[in-house]
Every structure is written in structure tokens, then in C-alpha cells.
Amino acid sequence: MDFNLTKDQQMIRDVVRDFAEQEIVPRASEIDKTGQFPLEIVNKMAEMDLMGLPFPEEYGGAGADYTSYCLAVEEITRACGSTGLTYEAHISLGCMPIFLFGTEEQKKEYLTPLCRGECLGSFGLTEPEAGSDAGGTKTTAELDGDEWVINGGKCFITNASYAKYVTITALTDKTKGKKGISAIIVPTDAAGFTIRAGYEKMGLHGSNTTELFFDNVRVPKINLVGKVNEGFKQFLTVLDGGRIAIAAMAVGLAQASLDASLKYAQERVQFGSSISKFQAIQFKLADMATAIELARLMYLKAAWLKDNDQPYSKEAAMAKVFASEMATRAALEAIQIHGGYGYMREFPVERYLRDAKLLEIGEGTSEVQRLVIARHLGC
């Protein structure tokens, strides 16, 4: 047993924390208020090789492990949820399917510019009728000679407006339901491919959330990722890894809630003393700190399992459900500690609540996480 991070992991966490405090924190409130995509921040992250952090150097990555990536996700999200989600979706959803299942040529052509941060990664999975139930997938891809012809649409797709290509899932065999789904790389400038970023969201305003429409979009046959009809299996693997990173995001947001609450409680004077001297406030802060530490340990354990090539699906689901629900609670408590000020946009804690709620939904709802855990228990 060794609970210490490695020297590399520590330095990556410390450098990203420093970067996030200097470069992201001052922008976070404005990003939330204007909904402006944090492109300059992403460009600075690319300069630091963060955009390919957990991928091998031969594809332009930094060659760090998954744990380091999750630590970076925590620190970035602690500063700004929108930037955190942009980064998480880029690596976990955009880069990962190509890295895990792509051919050598696809990795060179698509993964390398993603790792260098020349464009953002995006993964088109969810559809209006296919959320938790992938069997509802309606988008189709039919072979016509050497080309796939794609028709249909996707919703809630992160980063697509800033992507050069999106990996999407589509039915390649309608008779097989979810076992007839394949993943295909589609360039965003392909004829008939429309991307619309028109959602009004509760939070994560700076994150780019889009709808995709495919009207007879033709892409070369070789854009298939991995084997035909294996898309479902592939994205379950992709989502397993992504869940650890979502848990890390949740810990980052919860930590931000605690940081803000502790600072406020020490400054706010009522009844002649700072409210941090009152047990009612102390207990809230102590509970928040405890839950954050537990959630952090769980995502680090899941990441460690993944880094050590051990099964981690159950632990990833546990980390995600616990951390994301904890982050929402922490943000609610943070608002309560701030009292009336917490309800105002002048303080960041109401933003933390709006940002945190998505983490109970995206990349598998809390309910789906519990189903995954129950399945591992043998139910």
C-alpha cells in the first residue's frame, strides 16, 4: 500500500494547479456569464502539452499516466467547470476512442493533431431517443461502394464546433439493435454535416454543447473505427474511463466549494465572531472536507487500477456516482454557508451548483452508475 503520488504526478498536479490559479480562475466568472468558449485558455493548455497528456509521445502526447490526467482534470475544474468539461471531453471522449480502437493510420492522422491541441476532440454518441438506452440509436451509416453514407442526428455533443472531426456512432446493421452500432470518424467540413450550438443550459455555460445533423454525409470506408458492429462495446469502454475523469471533475468543483466556503466563513462576522467559530458551520465544512477526501481517494483508486491494467469498471462507476452527488451537495452547503450572498452571482458558489449538477447526468446518469455497480455485485 502506498498512498503517495509519484514525483511526476505531484509535479503535474502542482504545475496545473498553479496554471489554473493564475490563468483560469480570473476568467471563470466571465466565462460563465458570457458563455464564451475558453479558446485562449485551451491554446495555453496546448502549449503546456496538456491536450495529449495521457497519450504516448509518438502521437504527440506527453506520455503521462491516466492518474496524472485525472489530477489535471481536478485542478482545471476546480478553477472553472466549463474549461474542465472542455478538457475532459477532449481527452476522454474525443481522443480516447481513436487511441483505443483506431488503426495506426487513424492515430497518426487524427490523434496526433488532437494531442497537439490543433483542434478539439468530440464524440457523438447521444441521440434524442438514445441516452442511457443505446438501443434507441437512429442514426444510420450505410455502405455505398467505398463510402459510408450517414443520416440522422445527435444531441448534447461537447466540443463539436471546435472539432475538425467527430467520432460518431451509427447503426451499420439495423437488424441487430445495439449490436449493430459502429463508430465512424466524420470530418466536420463534410457536405451535409451541420453542427448547431443553440442550447440554453443551466450551467457549464462556456462549454460548447451542440446538435449534429447528418444529411447523406459521405465519408471513406476506412473512417470506420475498429471493427464493424463493435461500436457499443467500444463506447462502454470509453465511458468507463471517462467516468473516472468525471469523478475528478466533481472533486475539483467540490474542492472549489469548500475553498470558497472556508474563506467566507473565516471572514464573515456574525454575533461578534467569525462564523467559522460556530459548530453549525464547522460541521458543514468538516463534512464537505471528509466527503471530498473520500471521493478523491476513490477516483485515484479507479485511475490506479486502470493504470495498472486491472478491471476498474465498478470502481469507476462508484467514483462517479459518489463524487458527482457529493459535488452537488457540497455546492448546496457552500451556498447555505454564504447565506444570501451565496445566492448572488457576485460569489462563485451558485455557479458551482449549476456546474456540478451535470456531472450526475453526463457520461452515464447516477442511475446507470448504480446499475453498473449492481451488475458487478451479481444482480
Binding site: 514525483k7 511526476d8 509535479m11 503535474i12 504545475v15 498553479d18 496554471f19 502549449e47 503546456m48 502539452d49 496538456l50 497528456l53 509521445e57 506527453a62 506520455g63 503521462a64
Partner: protein, 256 residues
Amino acid sequence: MKIAVLVKQTFDTEAKIILDVNGKISSSGVSLIMNPYDEFAVEEGLRIKEKEGGEVTVISVGGQQAQDALRQALAMGADKAVLVDQGEAELDEYATATILAKAISDLEYDLILGGFRAIDDGSAQVAGRVAEILNIPVVNVVTGLEIEGGKAVATRETESGSEVLEVPLPAVITAQKGLNEPRYPSMKGIMKAKKKPMDKKTLADLGLDDGKISAKVKALSFSLPEPRKAGKVIPGEAAEAARELARLLREEAKVI
């Protein structure tokens, strides 16, 4: 251009200083960083290397934990590191400078950079002493530096403006805030840092012993500053309050 940069590992700027049972400063549980002024020096060394070509060697005196500060410099882009572990020896500025000068004299160097002071003891002596021992010029507290034709042209702020000084190389230059904006180590830099050479030496390796570096200054005791007292708010109309403020500054605080 062969550049040596002197680096010290210090307490984090936000570290809480406490004294242990023996009345010494306790380092237990304190996070350690590279002295921020030394970061300016490392950055300047890297910029000169990127412009002129060459090699940056970072050098520190300290225990094994000081490797972390050196590794940070390597992650920023320095080429190699030298760490001299002083063992049990107690160091003062004289001793530290003697060790550093000895370590540097084993290297080739055209330029030696360092922070103008460390944020912990703040003595601002070590780099100057190293220059004296090596018998080369030193320019302190520099906010601008150009290297041209075997010379260093350094700008330093003075009380009434700034002055520009020229010295032949090799020379020691110490960095002040404003010299540059240190880069963040890149992720690839961090991953590569552990593969770069870190030469660990003992005093014996340098031909030094306790006698040769025996400290000339000894700290007899440490004490923490008085806790800062709460401020005073003077109520009332502005003109009246100002009069009262002036009276208090004169009679109570005795500063005017």
C-alpha cells in the same frame, strides 16, 4: 554559452512558520518550492540558451528533498543538475557560497545566474560571495539582461531610476522580479526531467570537509514576530476623524 544557475529550495510562500521543541524552525509538513527569485534566474538562463545555444546546469546545496526544486528546473528545460548534499553540516552564507563555488569550478561556465535573494532567510549574500570566491564580476538585482560579444549588459533599478552596467563574462548576475515571466514546465518537460542527469555529490566528493566550510555565523535563537494587532476604525465625520487619526499616529503609534 555554458550557464550555471544557483537554485535554493525554500518554504512555500504561504507556509506557516512554527518553531519546534528545540526552538528551531520546523519543516515538518511544510511544502517546499523553488525560491521564486531563482525561478527568474532559471527562466533567464533558458531564454539565453534558446537564443544563443548552449547548456543550462542548475546547482543546489541541500538535502535529498532539494532534488524536487532541481527537477522543476529540469522540467522547465534545464539540461542537467548538480546537488551537493551537505549532510549534517550547519551552513551559513559563507559555507553555502564556498560549496557552490567549489561545485561550479568543476564545471565550464560563461555565466552564473541566481535569484538576488532567497525568500526564507533573505540574506542576499550567497551569489555575491560566489562571485568573490571565483574572482569574477557580479551585478545584483537585475531586471534586464543582454548577452553580446562576451559581455553582459545588465539593467538594475536604483532609487532614482535605473542604471545599465556592462561586465565581461564570466560573471554572476542576480535576478529581481521583473526580469522575466517564468514559464510553466510543460507536461513533456516534466516527463523528461527524470531522465536528465542529476549529479549528486557529497562534501567529500568536492574535496571539502566540515573544517573548510565551518560556519562563521551561528543562529543563537529564533523567535516569531508578535502577532499583528487588529486595526482600529475611527468613527465620525471625515474632518474630525482625520484629526483624531493624526493625533493617534503622533501620540500612540509615534510614527509622525
